[in-house]
Amino acid sequence: MNKTVYVDMKNICKTFGVIRANHDINFSVYKGEIHGLLGENGAGKSTLVNMLSGIYTPDSGSISIYNENVNIHSPKHAIELGIGMIHQHFKLIDVLTAAENIMLGQKDSFFLSTKHKIKSIENVMKKYGMEFDLNKKISDMSVSEKQNVEIMKVLYRGSKILILDEPTAVLTPQEIDKLFIVLRNLANSGCAIIIITHKLNEIMSITDRVTVLRQGETISTLETKETNIRQLTELMVGKPVSLSIDKVNAERGKLLLSVQNLTALGEHNVRVLDDVSFDLYEGEILGIAGVAGSGQKELCETIAGLYPVEKGDIYFEGENIVELSPREIIERGVSMSYIPEDRLGMGLVASMDMVDNMLLKDYVNQPGITVNRKVARDKAERVKERLDIQAPNVNTPIRKLSGGNIQKVLLGREMDASPHLLITAYPVRGLDIGASYNIYDLLQEQKQNNVGILYIGEDLDVLIELCNRIMVLCNGKVTGIADSESVTKEDLGLMMAGESLSSLQKEDEQCKL
């Protein structure tokens, strides 16, 4: 392999106040390689690449690009140096075409669409083997097409060094495969690619080398083919971790929740939930899979009484709860721990301490007009003890806790209310591996206590291991409810993209014939 060094970061240090985000980090990327940047949340991955893309400047250390010492002082400067960042959330304008988006912000001419510029984009596309329709509007594109446009945007600006921040979070498994082909093409045509992820199997399948960061320090840089998932995990976490979920078997009890023909409308009267029906039993974990934004959020919120239902019924323990207020639903034993995009957006108040956050759902039922913080403090202490929450004390504002501990505060509060139905949405989002497995164990414990659990997840491997059954949503429709014992990841992926389970089973049978 051609070993021209494109990026070389030496002894990089960066502190934010007392927090050492990066300490003495060494990181280099060759031309033509795909380099994985692996680490738990808060390991310093984002800080490191933000220094490459000019958002931060290092406190000390040196950066050289193409063997030349540089001091990247602004994002503009980074672009001039040929460093392109592809963010998780696309920055595209919906009403413009792909070509127009790509040309946007280029200062060479006033008008957008000119023939020769389209020509030059096509040339670049050809060079890197990219394929999509330049005249298609962004609003008509699929997520993976949009991602290609984003990549093309930085390539057209002459970037040779591409940084992708968690590019697979929004994709189905099939789309991920396509993305990886594109990335490999780019690497073969001489780009250097840095990919940030915490999904180990992706690291294994796409990268040439991988650098593991932990607590702001470089732990190791390894050749991907000489390592394995177990070793990477240990490097990342710093101690051996068991990576399997011991599925506990709980007796499936009686019918707990029955959702029938549920339809809900979103903006512009689009059906965000379209005729959704399913049953959930006591002592069962029902997983919900789907590409981000397929109706998961709305499903949770309709059950909790927070989102208007257009049509359909939700029977909880035999009673239709569609017309009930959130408070009445809470009183019947439905508990929701919801972790939306913004972790603290719903369910917790960031500026309040654990005590006050415990009060959120309880204060109503306390006697008199005052709140009783004594009871809440006891509860907070109990939850802190039981879930081993790392916090100086229960009076620390929870925004100062780490993601995993915030999550435990939320889950702990919900579990302490001994709910019959627990709805958890993305409970491990942004958590490190250790904390994630902790959460899975807690959920299984609840399942054994005969609680019915609705688990909305992202990682298909985890869904298959953790859940009894998995329901797949695509554009608000149920494409199938599969038994996790028999379903494969590939099938789930196809269902996420809109194929129905029954049609997949038919295909299987045809193959056998």
């Binding site: 040196s62 207020s325 959130p326 005052t370």
Partner: protein, 356 residues
């Protein structure tokens, strides 16, 4: 030059930053005073002695502190809920209007009941003036900043109309003024000041307790921090917004009652005299802390009274005192930035040279 987010500034750092801000304000105003041809030291010392130097002056200062404190509490309740109540002026005037109606036109009331009823009606009318935008906010998500601000003007014009029209005192021929309150409708006096001197601290304690200890106070804080969490916890957000604004406007209304029945002895435009706006600043500077409101309001009382004193003592125009006030505010609010961020000066290419 780089601007860096400060992570957890220590108490000592914050105090130092605040002190520097005050110094900067005094120096900058000092330059201005020198340009006017006065000695800043004399002016400042005159301001202090003008506000605190004698019993009468201290009373005048306290007379400024009382309306500021009560209005700030009203604003604070709304701000805690992230409801931008810019309508304190209007709510004060409407509260005074309600009290005036009781004082002048409900003469069938037994005399001992007049003052309690004035407070009650003043609270309600001031409250209603704040509930109007609250209803629009709760039902239609209307912008409360604009609505509360606009309602100020309606209140001002309404009082003007009353003064020149139906409520004009016919006995003062040719002079447009509303009649003075009868003796029994004037606030009782304590320590040479009206009863507001007791009401204000009592309200401070009440609001501090209300926000910290009661269920409604807890709800207000949650709604202010995160609407979706409040919804999730099953709170009735519309009801909370409306009742909170009744309290907010009601407190401002009480200021109106006190100013009308304790200071002006009638209903005039001077009843509000800018307290509704100044209270926004005192509330902000107190960091939405009810107890601190009392101290900040006292400091502002000193500033207001000291300002009007130098005007008469040194013949410095009132506007010069206003400049000093504005300068202090600018620096105090500006210093917030330095509490949140620190600025570091470094040359562009210093990074590589730092490598060992």
């Amino acid at each position: 030059m780089q601007i860096i987010k400060r992570v957890g500034a220590s108490k000592k750092q914050i105090i130092i930053i605040r002190l520097i801000a005050i110094m900067v304000a005094l120096v900058a105003s000092g330059i201005f005073i020198v340009m006017l041809g006065y000695n800043p030291i004399t002016v400042y010392s005159n301001m202090i002695s003008g506000a605190l130097g004698s019993k009468i002056r201290l009373r005048a200062t306290l007379l400024e502190m009382i309306p500021l404190t009560i209005t700030s509490l009203g604003i604070l309740v709304a701000f805690k809920m992230k409801f931008a109540n810019i309508g304190g002026e209007g709510q004060i005037l409407m509260g005074a209007f309600g009290a005036t109606y009781v004082a002048l036109f409900m003469d069938w009331l037994p005399e001992f009941l007049v003052i309690p009823v004035m407070f009650l009606v003043g609270f309600l009318v001031g409250g209603i003036w704040a509930v109007i935008p609250a209803i629009f906010k709760a039902r239609f998500d209307a912008n409360e900043t604009i609505m509360t601000l606009m309602l100020n003007y309606i209140a001002i014009q309404w009082i003007t109309y009353l003064q020149y029209g139906p409520w004009r005192d016919p006995e003062l021929k040719g002079f447009a003024k509303i009649a003075n309150f009868p003796q029994y409708a004037l606030l009782p006096r304590v320590f040479g000041i009206h009863i507001g001197l007791i009401i204000a601290p009592v309200l401070v304690v009440f609001i501090a307790w209300f926000l910290r200890r009661t269920k409604r106070g807890f709800e207000i804080t949650v709604v202010g921090e995160s609407l979706s969490t409040a919804r999730y916890a099953g709170m009735d957000i519309s009801r909370i917004i409306i009742t909170t604004m009744l309290l907010s406007g009601g407190l401002c209304g009480i200021t109106g009652v006190i100013q009308a029945a304790g200071v002006n002895k009638t209903l005039t435009m001077n009843v509000s005299s800018g307290y509704g706006f100044t209270a926004i600043i005192t509330t902000y500077l107190s960091g939405l802390n009810a107890t601190k409101v009392l101290f900040v309001s006292f400091l502002f009382g000193v500033l207001l009274q000291g300002g009007s004193y130098i005007q008469s003592a040194l013949q410095i125009p009132q506007s010069a005192a206003d400049v000093l006030q504005g300068m202090l505010l600018l620096c105090a609010l500006g210093s917030e930035f330095f509490v949140q961020y620190k600025v570091r000066f470094s040359k562009k290419n210093s990074v590589s040279s730092e490598v060992k």
